[in-house]
Structures are given as C-alpha cells and as structure tokens.
Amino acid sequence: AQSVTQLDSQVPVFEEAPVELRCNYSSSVSVYLFWYVQYPNQGLQLLLKYLSGSTLVKGINGFEAEFNKSQTSFHLRKPSVHISDTAEYFCAVILKSGTYKYIFGTGTRLKVLA
C-alpha cells in the first residue's frame, strides 16, 4: 500500500525567508508525485508535479521540489516567501499504473508572518 507523510503540520516563517515543506512517501511500485496548494476557503490547485526526467521540478509562484528516489522524498521549497503564500500545502502520490487514486498527505499549513 502507498502512503504519504507530511511530518510538519504547521510551518511558520517570516516574509522573504526561505521555506522547505517536507514530504516522504512509501510505495512498492513507481509513483508520480504532486504538490497541491489550498488557499483559505478554496479548492486545491496544482503547484507542480514530477512524472519523469529531471528530479528538480519548478512550479508556479516560485516553488520548486526535488524528487529523491533513494530517500523517497519530494520536498517543496521556495527561496523567499510572501504573505500571499499562506495556505495549506498537500503532497500527493499516484501509482504509475493501475488505479487512478491519489493518496494525499495530511497537509502542512504554511503561515507567513510579516
């Protein structure tokens, strides 16, 4: 069975500081990896995804993530955050074949402080 772990439930950070949101996954088969963002009172939207190729993936709003197969991680980073980045961030995986079911992590609340 697949699982996704986001160890940090909340991450406070000052504006213009860098941030890293951690995501680790467990799967016996190959997976695709995603980061979604949920702004207050809205649905989720895709930040970035890793399907294949370069392990460093760039997404919207200046975010990037690096796929590390040996550590089964897909951490999300941004070099300088803005107040507007305050949101809930979800890591997710889906099997490369078979079911089309996303497995979501429990989310990390990023709070950017002025």
Binding site: N41, Q42, G43, L44, F90, I94, K96, S97, T106, G107
Partner: protein, 113 residues
C-alpha cells in the same frame, strides 16, 4: 469561465435530512471524483467515475450515493445526514491517465446540526 463548479457552496441542515450536492466540469475530462475534507484538513477520496462508470468506491457509508448522468456531471446524494458528515466536500476532475492533474471545485461546506 469556471472549470469545476459545485452547488451549493454552503449547506446547513438538520440531522436525518437528505441532501444533494451537484458538480459540473467544462474541461472535457472523462473522470470525476468526490473528496471529503474534515476539520483537520485531512483529504480523503470517496468516489470516482470514469465515463459514467464507478471506478473508485472507498469505504464510505451507503448513505452516500454518487450519480453521474454524463461525464461532465457527478452528483452526491446523502441520506439520513449525521453530525459526523459535517465537512467540506470537493469535486474534482481529470483525464483518465496516471499523472494527470486533478482540477478541484471550490468545495461545498456542509454543516449538520
């Protein structure tokens, strides 16, 4: 131009009532999903339909019944509502291919009193 829309946005109702939530997507996708997000923001898939056929049916009480009249619509009917059904329900759609992005609706906030 809303890609995935849900109605209603808010739903407040009494225990024991029956209610429906509607979802429509105009992205031309062939697969639609229902998710439940609890108060701790935990997101859990409930159902998925591909071209009107049920493909994912998680462990959900049978009081919840999805219905897909066509591939652009996926409705969720809930019978005999319980306090524990209070949550935000999200509809999403995608193309049926692993690795495809899911597009989410704005959510329906259900409060059962």
């Amino acid at each position: 131009d809303t890609a995935v829309s849900q109605t209603p946005k808010y739903l407040v109702t009494q225990m024991g009532n029956d209610k429906s939530i509607k979802c429509e997507q105009n992205l031309g996708h062939d697969t639609m999903y229902w998710y439940k997000q609890d108060s701790k923001k935990f997101l859990k898939i409930m159902f998925s339909y591909n071209n009107k056929e049920l493909i994912i049916n998680e462990t959900v009480p049978n009081r919840f019944s999805p219905k897909s009249p066509d591939k652009a619509h996926l409705n969720l009917h809930i019978n005999s509502l319980e306090l524990g059904d209070s949550a935000v329900y999200f509809c999403a759609s995608s193309q049926m291919a692993s690795g495809e992005t899911q597009y989410f609706g704005p959510g329906t906030r259900l409060l059962v009193l």
